[in-house]
Symmetry: C2
Subunit: 245 residues, 2 copies
């Protein structure tokens, strides 16, 4: 369709990188691309911690399920949802900050995700590879301590950026009929579509180069949504001043 849409549609996570660093001018452009994303109420509720310290990288790797690319990627960014910076503006204008609303948590989380996705697209447009690291939420308290995150800031995910040293296949996505609906959500889920997609995914896993799996998508989802999911998150977020109400 056009070269930008081609870049978007060819995304796959990269988990193996060369040793080559990222040129600093390019890095700055990538970060500024992130900043250029939309932001609700112009909150700009994202803070990026760029981790260059080798010891901290090694610790973050351990805290994030021991994923080696957290340490080996040219750059590792911890993308934080940040209400602290804007809350501090209340002091500057003699107002009392109130940061405990769930709505504000959503604002900052969405701002962070939009900025991150722009960073990924900018990086991929230059030939870099990226990988989101949700596992920074495995031990968000320790990650926060390591990076000196204050209250009203939390690590949403990490981002590995670097020059790819692998060329994995693009994963087939859900059929449009299962995720795009006109005017209303359907009353029943279309099981035939799910089964057809399961077959596509089983075939994909069979033929792809790395990390072969045998389960279709619905079986994977049934595993994902029937087990505990980071049960510490709510308590962690509340302790950090989020989601009081």
């Amino acid at each position: 369709m056009n070269p930008i849409i081609d870049v978007l549609k060819s995304h796959r996570s990269i988990r193996q990188f060369t040793d080559q660093p990222i040129d600093q001018a390019l890095f700055a452009e990538i970060i500024m691309s992130g900043q250029a994303a939309a932001s609700s109420n112009f909150l700009q509720g994202v803070t990026i911690i760029r981790v260059t310290d080798r010891a901290k990288r090694a610790q973050l790797r351990q805290l994030s399920g021991n994923q080696p690319y957290v340490e080996s990627a040219a750059e590792f960014l911890v993308m934080c949802a940040d209400l602290n910076r804007a809350a501090q503006c209340c002091d500057l204008h003699d107002k009392q900050a109130t940061t405990g609303f769930t709505e504000q948590f959503i604002l900052a989380t969405v701002d962070t995700a939009l900025a991150a996705q722009n960073i990924c697209v900018a990086a991929e447009s230059a030939g870099l590879g990226i990988c989101y690291i949700g596992a920074v939420r495995n031990h968000p308290d320790q990650v926060s301590e390591l990076l000196n995150l204050p209250d009203h800031v939390y690590p949403v995910f990490g981002l590995c950026l670097g020059w790819p040293d692998q060329a994995p296949e693009v994963k087939p996505r859900l059929p449009l009929a299962l995720m795009l609906h006109e005017n209303a959500y359907p009353s029943d889920i279309d099981r035939a579509q799910i089964e057809a997609y399961d077959a596509v995914m089983v075939d994909y896993y069979k033929t792809r180069t790395d990390n072969k799996k045998t389960a279709g998508w619905s079986e994977q989802m049934s595993g994902l949504l029937s087990r505990e999911a980071r049960p510490h998150m709510l308590e962690f977020l509340r302790a950090r001043g989020f989601m009081q109400k």
Copy 2:
């Protein structure tokens, strides 16, 4: 730097559109670009409700702070975080779904935001304009009812897409020094940088074409974070099965 980064850095919200529709082949490419974004655990936790029904559009406009472009944009998408589709897969594999974890809420919300940002970039790459509509969270219960959203699905934001009939200026973003930090979050916020940015924003508002304002960024933020923010959100989300724990 490159044409993609140029597109990313030239984003501004468009709130006035021509009557021209979006070609359906282009629309499909835009949606598929959204699907191509990364997804944690491959949940693909986003559902898009494309609202073509004129009466529903008019209602959504009223429910979203009466913003006219909700009605007038060529396309209006309600971007929903969706755990329902994946939870239904538990039935297919004789498992018990558990969808009340805050972590799962974050997964689906982030998935939705990443897909949305790809949709915006794809649209803008083709010359279209976009506007995020957070105000679908003003009355999320009524929006959910209107669109037949089941439990474990919530409207995160709307998206207007259309051909721009205005050319607003790009808004200056926070100085990098305030949102990008190396290895640790700073102990103190840099007030001089905030004041410098306030001056930039005051100047921007003075010279821009529409919607002139006089307050700097920190003053706007002190207003935003010292008032109630959609205080119904937590109760709404809990009633819908999210954030039970």
